[in-house]
């Protein structure tokens, strides 16, 4: 018993107890109530990212609009906007097919918040960008190719 305690303390020297607990997966850093969707953000394939989001294979819909430039001169800052005209839009996700990790951002929209978000993303190279929207429990998407003249992920 004491031996175990001693070993634990030994292992903990130089590391804080917190980081040990984090390493052991016992404590999640950050806000506890909203867990970051690690699996979706770390997915390296489009279908894996979509299934981690629970989206499966979303249907393309004209009611989802993805606003972005045709050509982005600087891949480090690509302005992207998503508008959904579908009723009960609850969630919006932005994915870049040819980035190392597809999923860039995910927005949860409570009732009363309009389905219109804008942000800026990085793109390593010319790629299709997907806007995936969850509305009324179903998933829809829109995509657009953005040409990048200068990548945003290099040194």
């Amino acid at each position: 018993m004491d031996q175990l305690r001693r070993n634990t303390l030994k292992a903990g020297s130089g590391l804080s107890l917190f980081s040990l607990l984090v390493a052991a997966g016992m404590v999640k850093p950050g806000v506890a109530e909203a867990a970051w969707s690690k699996a979706a953000f770390e997915a390296k394939k489009m279908d894996a990212a979509l299934s981690a989001l629970g989206a499966g294979s979303p249907a393309e819909s004209a009611e989802v609009q993805l606003t972005a430039p045709d050509i982005a001169e600087n891949g480090a800052v690509v302005p992207v906007g998503v508008v959904s005209n579908l009723p009960d839009t609850e969630e919006v996700a932005i994915l870049v097919e040819k980035n190392p990790n597809m999923l860039a951002a995910r927005f949860m929209l409570p009732a009363g918040t309009e389905a219109a978000v804008q942000t800026r993303i990085k793109m390593g190279q010319t790629s299709d960008v997907y806007a995936v929207v969850k509305a009324g429990g179903k998933y829809y998407m829109a995509k657009k190719e953005i040409k990048v003249t200068l990548g945003g992920c290099g040194g």
Binding site: G30, A76, G112, T113, Q118
Partner: protein
């Protein structure tokens, strides 16, 4: 403690438009420094926006959101003089919360 963000919130016709400019490196973890060592990832993972007690937006970011992230969204309600509070946490456990008055 992160650097302060710039928040602008404007109400018109019963809808409040919020624009946020965060101040964050958003390091991807894929870049190398001049001596060839990988620069560790450092990026905002979660963000939430509140109007009074009501959450009006929750977001999750990955490292491919641009440096000094920009975000804009709209919610119904909100009147001049009321507060909007934006908070984020990053993957290193750092956090920041700022508020703005709706104008």
């Amino acid at each position: 403690m992160g650097n302060p963000m710039r928040i602008r919130a404007a109400a018109s016709d019963g809808v409040t438009e919020v624009k946020v400019l965060m101040n964050h490196e958003m390091e991807t973890g894929q870049r190398k420094d001049s001596s060839g060592n990988l620069i560790p990832a450092h990026f905002i993972t979660e963000l939430n926006a509140k109007h009074g007690d009501k959450v009006v937006l929750q977001a999750e970011f990955g490292p491919s959101v641009s440096k000094n992230p920009f975000l804009s969204f709209k919610f119904k309600g909100g009147a001049k003089g009321e507060k909007v509070v934006i908070s984020w946490v990053d993957n290193k456990g750092d956090s920041r919360s700022d508020e703005a008055t709706i104008g």
